[in-house]
């Protein structure tokens, strides 16, 4: 059950995973519905979403996992670099070390899960991060973690497999915890809203675009 490559995947493997609409997935409707539901997360998504999801099967799950893997690769590289370059010390260094370990574990688990499902894990994207000091790093970290939370929350309802869904839930909670811990470092609210708004793949792609080098 190997995942056939799409054109995008061949030319820009790092973008394939975060492409808005895979041609195979009939998910234009689904994304519109999820975007509508994203306003509050309640009520707006109709039963047709379930049908669309049922049609996806685990092929859709592999795409979603590769999308998540791309983001985890990005986070993993971000923290690995910061531990060398961001001039961290004390509690912050300890926190970043913990987060870095978590992101590495996410990469490993997602890679293995994709393989177990018969898919092909995407390669690590080439990345660069625009900060020049510790404060710049922690500000960017808060943004990246919040995007991560919203990305998982947006993609998770499209997951077919209960095991994969539970895994995604387990990871997103950890991303939310990272976001809160970093926000406290920045003197910001650890939980700015009562509901973490989901983001569509298109929104996430736009948000991480500045960090992807092609």
């Amino acid at each position: 059950m190997t995942e056939p490559k799409t054109n995008t995947e061949l030319t820009h493997p790092e973008l394939a995973a975060i492409e808005v609409d895979g041609t195979e997935r009939s998910d234009v409707l689904m994304k519109g519905a999820l975007a509508a539901g994203a306003v509050f997360g309640l009520g707006a998504i109709g039963p047709f979403v379930r049908k669309a999801m049922a049609a996806n099967g685990s092929k859709g799950d592999i795409e979603i996992l590769n999308y998540a893997l791309t983001l985890e690769y990005l986070e993993s590289a971000f923290y690995a670099e910061a531990l060398k370059k961001a001039g961290l010390s004390g509690d912050l260094k300890q926190l970043v070390t913990t987060i870095s370990t978590d992101e590495d574990a996410h990469v490993k688990a997602l890679t293995q899960t994709i393989k177990d499902l018969g898919g092909k894990p995407v390669k690590a994207p080439r990345v660069e991060f625009p900060y020049s000091d510790t404060a710049g790093f922690t500000a960017l970290a808060e943004t990246i973690e919040n995007v991560g939370v919203s990305a998982y929350n947006g993609a998770a309802p499209m997951i077919s497999s209960k095991d994969v869904l539970e895994a995604a839930g387990s990871i997103v909670q950890v991303e939310a915890r990272h976001a809160a811990a970093i926000a406290l470092q920045n003197g910001n609210q650890p939980a700015p809203d009562a509901f973490d708004k989901p983001m569509t793949e298109a929104q996430v792609l736009k948000a991480v675009q500045p960090f992807l080098v092609s």
């Binding site: 999801m53 978590d102 539970e166 839930g169």
Partner: protein, 240 residues
Amino acid sequence: MAATRQRSTEEKEEQEQQEGFGRSGVSRRQLVSMAGGSVALGAFLAACGSDDSDSGSDSMSNGSGTTGTSDSSMSDDSTAQFGEGDIGIMNYALTLEYLETAFYEDVAKSGLFKGSDLETIRKFGSQEAEHVAALTAAVKKAGGKPAAKPKTEFPLNNAKQVLRLASTVENLGAAAYLGQAARIQSPDVLAAALSIHSVEGRHAAALNTLLGKTPVPDGPFAAPAPAAMVLNAVQPFIVS
């Protein structure tokens, strides 16, 4: 029953899970149905009593998150007492959100906190109240009857104990949502639950940080908690 042997099996399973979720799902599930949930509960309660010197009347104040939990989907039907399917799950969540809201209200009134700590408590409390409102509306929309607000009572003796209790409640709340995610049928209910779940995780991490504990007590993968375990853990705070 040999709880320790069970526990070490679970740890091994957890390790396997970190290597690949898809592969170990079945065995974890089988394990849970064999254990019937009671072993996980025992492990949780044992963990709660392990690291506290001044826990006193607070029976669940370890504040470092839930431990010893296991795969909760499918075999966890304790939400049925709140209604069938998604309605039962939402009413279960609503009950927990009522409890959290009441807790923060009591804490805010206790006079134990001021300044930025009090602000944080009020903020978290108002977010829990928003969760109550959203879940109440969602249960009604699904044609169900929202669960009644439970009468609650919390031990509020000193600031540190209260923070520990808050941390425990929030870590448990986050684990409770995670425990239900895979059982939810409706994608819109799932999306709503997820948008609350990560906020509970944020609260838990913030409180852990205030207590000088790690924001990620379960490591890279947050552990789910089955409803039976959660309900048992909050039982001491529900008066009627």
